[in-house]
Structure formats: structure tokens, C-alpha cells
Point group: C2
Chain length 193, copies 2
């Protein structure tokens, strides 16, 4: 099992955003690409992946590869899936997930709660330029990787992550987009380092 947690601090927490301008919707374009980069193969799904989008530190949309249906590779349809999840926000009570469609659920959880849940199953690693270069270590078993969408982590978020993280891993010398970081991480694990 591999997990990815993508933190979108300024991401929408309601379904009131337009599919025609995803960058303006808290970089929903990038969040959508993180979902597809983590879950899609060329002709199929990565079944043993779970991806968690933490939106505005208020809601988490969870994608489970094992049960996922209806995920397509383009940004717009993926953003529409996230929007449909957020449309159920009033149904998300306590920390009980609302299943929105097969393999997609919405839960009222901030970053701390999401990390707490994920850390029950997986060791958490932060992807970070100052971390251990991936060439200097073997890929972890059953890891969860935390990424920020396009900004540096808030100080609060960085502290929260530090509480849960088993380490920091650096993918390479260039700062790349989160979706590309996910593709590189998958390849690192696929090829066993």
C-alpha cells in the first residue's frame, strides 16, 4: 500500500468553483493532477494506492484505488469529481466519511486528523529538498508521502507533519511540481530504488 497526502491550504472547501478556471480555484488543476498521477497507470488503476487531498485544512477527499470508478486522466473531469465530493459537505458529520462515488469519499478532517488516521497503517514521509536523497536509501515499505500543492507548507502544517513523519526524502536537485513528484516517487518504488 502506498499513500499520498496532498495539502491544499487555499483549496476550495465548497463546490462553488468553476471548472473553466481551475488555477483560480486554489490550484485545483494541480490537485486534480496529483490525484491522477497517484492513481492512474497508462491503461488502468494503481489498486493499492490511497490518495488524500486535504482542502483548506477542513475537509479531506479520499481516493481509494481498490474501489475507484470513473477517474479519467484529464484535470477537468477529476476536478468535477472533487467538486461532487465537496457538494456533500453538509453530510460529512463528525469524522464519518461520506462515500460520494465508488472509491471517493469526503470526510471532515484537517491535516492533523488525516495524518493520525494514515499513520495507523503507513509510515509517513515528507518529500522535501533538504531530506535524504532517494539514492541514499531504499524505498520504505508501505509509505505515505506528504506534499504541498504549490506553496511551501504553512509553519503550522510543517510542525504537524514533523510530529508524524518518520523522515524526509529528497527526490532530486530540482524543485518540481507535486504531480511530477508523485510520478517520480512511484517510479522509485516500482523499480525498487
Amino acid at each position: 500500500m502506498r499513500q499520498f497526502i496532498v495539502v491544499g491550504r487555499n483549496a476550495p472547501t465548497t463546490d462553488e468553483f468553476a471548472l473553466d478556471d481551475l488555477p483560480a480555484a486554489g490550484r485545483m488543476d494541480l490537485l486534480a493532477r496529483c490525484v491522477t498521477a497517484s492513481l492512474l497507470l497508462s491503461h488502468g488503476l494503481r489498486e493499492s494506492v490511497q490518495t488524500h487531498l486535504v482542502l483548506g485544512d477542513e475537509f479531506t477527499v479520499r481516493f481509494e484505488g481498490e474501489n475507484l470508478r470513473g477517474l479519467h486522466p484529464d484535470e477537468r473531469s477529476t476536478a468535477a469529481l472533487i467538486r461532487s465530493a465537496l457538494a456533500e459537505r453538509e453530510e460529512a458529520i463528525g469524522q464519518i466519511p461520506v462515500e460520494v462515488s465508488s472509491g471517493v469519499s469526503l470526510v471532515r478532517m484537517d491535516l492533523d486528523a488525516t495524518l493520525a488516521t494514515v499513520s495507523e497503517q503507513s509510515e509517513i514521509y515528507r518529500l522535501h529538498p533538504d531530506g535524504t536523497p532517494k539514492s541514499e536509501r531504499s524505498p520504505p515499505e508501505s509509505p505515505a508521502f506528504v506534499l504541498s500543492n504549490h506553496q511551501e507548507f504553512h509553519d503550522d502544517d510543517a510542525e504537524t507533519i514533523a510530529e508524524y513523519a518518520a523522515g524526509e526524502i529528497c527526490l532530486g536537485p530540482k524543485a518540481i511540481h507535486a504531480d511530477h513528484a508523485i510520478a517520480v516517487t512511484h517510479n522509485w518504488l516500482d523499480t525498487d530504488g
Copy 2:
């Protein structure tokens, strides 16, 4: 210098496609993501990259990192850039490129002509599951990588590529999307294997 050649056999060759349904436009979503994966860093451009989209084996849209302006990370705006290039199709006479905007040009070149031009500067490699695993070789100097967008290469295209290619390289055991393959390839070169 790194180059990427992405072959979109059923891609549009006119500007008559809708930005609201990029997958239906010959998988313009994927072509757009290949452009951004090849040229964008987290906060900047890869200046020594050139990317060539071969559309319908009739036109090639070329992106040059060194001079590129106005490229954003989302699919829709990138597809709009490609559409603006195709709007100049009547101006593309012979094999003289039409500069559409800074760093973006359109040229009436099929795959063969594009490979011939690129091979003057770079060694051409096909990314292919049956190729040499990247772990078993060092990254080439000044390479050009050829990828298909989402289908297998046409037999004709595969033959054309074989005429120019110095070798085939396999990125890993899983078949991944072309944009993710580009991200992985960049990381391979960035980290010097």
C-alpha cells in the same frame, strides 16, 4: 539540451476543438500535460528543453524553453496555446516555422521530418517497455526522447523512429502515462542516473 518528441497521431491539426472537452480532441489533455511536464519546474522553466508535438503526422508545434513565455501549468491554458499555434496553419509554408508566441512555433513537418531535424542536435531514444532498463545504463548526453501520447505507435511511426533511434530505454516495470514518463525521465537525468 534535452528534447522530447510526443506523437499524437489522432491529435487535431486545426484550431477547431473545444477547450471544455480536451480528451475528445485527440487527447489534447495528455499532449498539454506532456508540454508542461517537459518544460516546467515548480517555480520556473527548464530553459534547455525543447518539446515537439507531432500532430496528425502533419504539423509539429515546437516549444523552446529558452525563449518560452506564457506557459502555465494547467491543461486548459496550455491547450489554448497549442490551439493558437494551429490557428496559424495556413501561414506554415514549406518547412519554415511560424513563430506564434515567444518560444512557441508551428511548422508543417511530419514525424520523419521532425526526427530528421532533431537528430541533427541530439541522439534519439525511444521510451519503450522492451528497452534497456534505465538502471542498467547511464543517462545519455543531449538526448531526445520519443513518446506516443496514449496509443501504441503506428507501425509506420515505429519504423520511422527505428531509422533514427540510437536505442530504446525502459523507465520501469509499469506502463505509465506519457507526461509521467517525461517527469521520470527528467528526474533520471537530473540525478545523473
